[in-house]
Amino acid sequence: MRKNVIRWLLLVLLLALLPVAVHAQDDISDDEVNEVAKDLYCPVCESTPLDVCPTQACADWRELIRTKLAAGDTRQDVLDYFARQYGDGVLANPPRRGISLIVLWVLPVLIVLLGGLLFFRLLRGMRVAPTAAGGPLPNPLPKGEGAPTGPLPNLFAKGEGAPTAKTGDESLDDYIARVERDLKQ
């Protein structure tokens, strides 16, 4: 007897809650629909988010979102459904896989890394350059047989007939003397 009463009470309670549950499912507001729709793009007009698109196709899609939310689907369920049905291209945030992964994620990171690397190399080059300019100039004359080994002669010093500085090499001194004469003329 007591069990029967409990059963009846439970049944009455369930019946009382049923309209509330049905009403809750039907009562999906436009804001809730648009909250999902803003992460989808219109299939017909390019680059128009679904929540602001005025076409009939988008109105149909928004109604489908409402139906799915009312049926208990989560926001992610709805987005997954649209991606499956119409392709990843309708998602405002395409999943990180395939070509989307490369173009939207790997490529920007690579570009930043590459830019950073080139910038670093440029900076390092700028640091090295002043040191080299400030140091002693290298002897432009190659070392080897017949080349002067001492300090470079002053070719522009004043003098007559003979080189102003002796290199110790007679032929070279003679050559320098002729060059000096030519320069004076």
Binding site: P43, T55, L64, V103, G144, G146, A147, D174
Partner: protein, 197 residues
């Protein structure tokens, strides 16, 4: 003064400068640059991919038919399965106003030519399935219909909108492309010609 002054000769005698070893960073930089160029090139090729035109082989595709709207007792098929038949591939949508004019024409063609080796295949583009089914019910269509899952087929055929129709001959070559609605006279002219080939 016959003696020459060795000047440039000594430069040749100078020991060869050792080659700089290939640095890993430079290799990576060049690899990255080549990779970027490859991706950009690939993207460029994809965006400029030409839509299939008349005289070109019709790109193959798979379809999963709507329940009750299959073809030849199948629930799935691909274009290759229809080789040997003239295929009227029609892209439509329930929200498309112009499609409402041509759906009865396509149904009429299906009734007229189905047993002569013609497949009229409707592909619902960017449509909501319940609406597609309601539309087909409204017009009482009986020819095969399938949703364009993932919009793969419409992307392959680079359609510009709906309705759009590709008529494919028995060898799988596109023989006519109709942007906008088809009409009865057009189908009655093209289909018999292709059946006769």
């Amino acid at each position: 003064m016959s003696e020459t002054i060795p000047t440039t000769q000594t430069a040749v005698d100078q020991p060869a400068k050792p080659r700089r070893p290939l640095r890993l960073t430079m290799v990576l930089v060049w690899l990255a640059v080549l990779g970027l160029l490859a991706i950009l090139g690939w993207g460029l090729l994809n965006t400029t991919a030409a839509r299939p035109e008349v005289g070109q082989p019709a790109p193959d595709f798979d379809v999963a038919f709507f329940d009750g709207f299959g073809w030849d007792g199948r629930t799935t098929a691909n274009l290759q399965d229809m080789r040997g038949q003239v295929v009227v591939l029609n892209f439509w949508a329930s929200w498309c106003v112009e499609c409402r004019d041509e759906t009865p024409v396509l149904e009429s063609a299906w009734q007229k030519y189905a047993d002569q080796g013609v497949v009229v295949l409707g592909v619902a583009y960017a449509d909501v399935e319940p609406n597609s089914l309601a539309y087909m019910d409204d017009f009482g269509v009986s020819f095969p219909h399938a949703p364009d899952l993932g919009t793969d087929i419409s992307q392959t055929y680079e359609i510009t909108g709906v309705p759009e129709t590709f008529i494919i001959d028995k060898e799988g070559v596109i023989r006519h492309v109709q942007i906008g609605a088809v009409n009865e006279a057009m189908l009655d002219q093209i289909i018999p010609e292709l059946l006769a080939q």
